[in-house]
Subunit: 160 residues, 2 copies
């Protein structure tokens, strides 16, 4: 993660890539989303998805992986996640798909209650290899100020 001072509002980065294997999607779905259409070719063929697809939570986890691994920053800069708004699965993700993450820094606000920390809002768009958006979300996280005693400016406007 990046320190508060280093986050440039409006900056857009493309981070990636991660290719989902059938082994990964099956393993994840068996553990966390054991709906038949994520596990069985036969059930999937009769489903909306047509063939076996990744759990949406598997896709969301890949988003996090690409964010963490792709962010040139400091391993010590992140405090923790606050949440996610408007998470949407726009298209199915299939085994073999290669996902890349676009991250746009929307806003940052110094914390009133926690000196030395600030909140960051980032718009996530996960694309497949055909440049189709498969997932969008706004992530909200807590990050540290590089200089806890500093007075860096807020930036951007948090989504309503």
């Amino acid at each position: 993660m990046q320190y508060f001072e280093d986050v440039i509002i409006g900056e857009v980065r493309l981070l990636g890539a991660h290719t989902l294997t059938r082994e990964e999607t099956t393993d994840f779905a068996a553990k966390y989303d054991p709906q038949d259409f994520h596990l069985s070719d036969e059930a999937a063929a009769k489903s909306f998805f047509g063939r076996v697809s990744a759990s949406g939570w598997n896709t969301a986890a890949v988003m996090m992986k690409l964010l963490v691994n792709g962010t040139v920053g400091d391993p010590d800069a992140g405090v923790g996640g606050i949440g996610a708004d408007a998470l949407r699965w726009l298209r199915p993700v299939y085994p073999g798909d290669t996902l890349s993450l676009q991250v746009e820094n929307l806003a940052k606000r110094r914390s009133r209650s926690k000196p030395g920390q600030g909140t960051i809002w980032q718009k996530m768009t996960l694309f497949n290899q055909d440049e189709q958006a498969v997932l969008t979300a706004t992530l909200i996280g807590l990050i540290k100020l590089r200089d806890p005693a500093g007075d860096p400016a807020d930036g951007g406007t948090p989504p309503a």
Copy 2:
């Protein structure tokens, strides 16, 4: 999942439980959220969390597991997930914690564009063994009508 006709708006169910092991939280974090404080005791001790904690996306995946495994319904009734709103990680989740899921059916709406299907909004609250809420979210999913030619009523009010 349940068929549209079977979803009772206002119904609250408690589903569970899942105990997170250190092996599970480490495995998940190594794959999808390799921040030091999820993996290293030493880094975690210096972090906000105090000790190694589960990735928030691991916690979200456990929510999905409890929902899928705990819903008495029909494996054929779910179409797929649309998304999640207002996902919030309220408290850290640690290895050894046992999570249970409270599900409240908020609203259901017949689909205008997809005959035979409808949208359901469900409020999720994940509790730890001390009855503290650790995660809240509104899940939005697409489910089938049991009778595609039927005319079941909508119910409830989707969150703004």
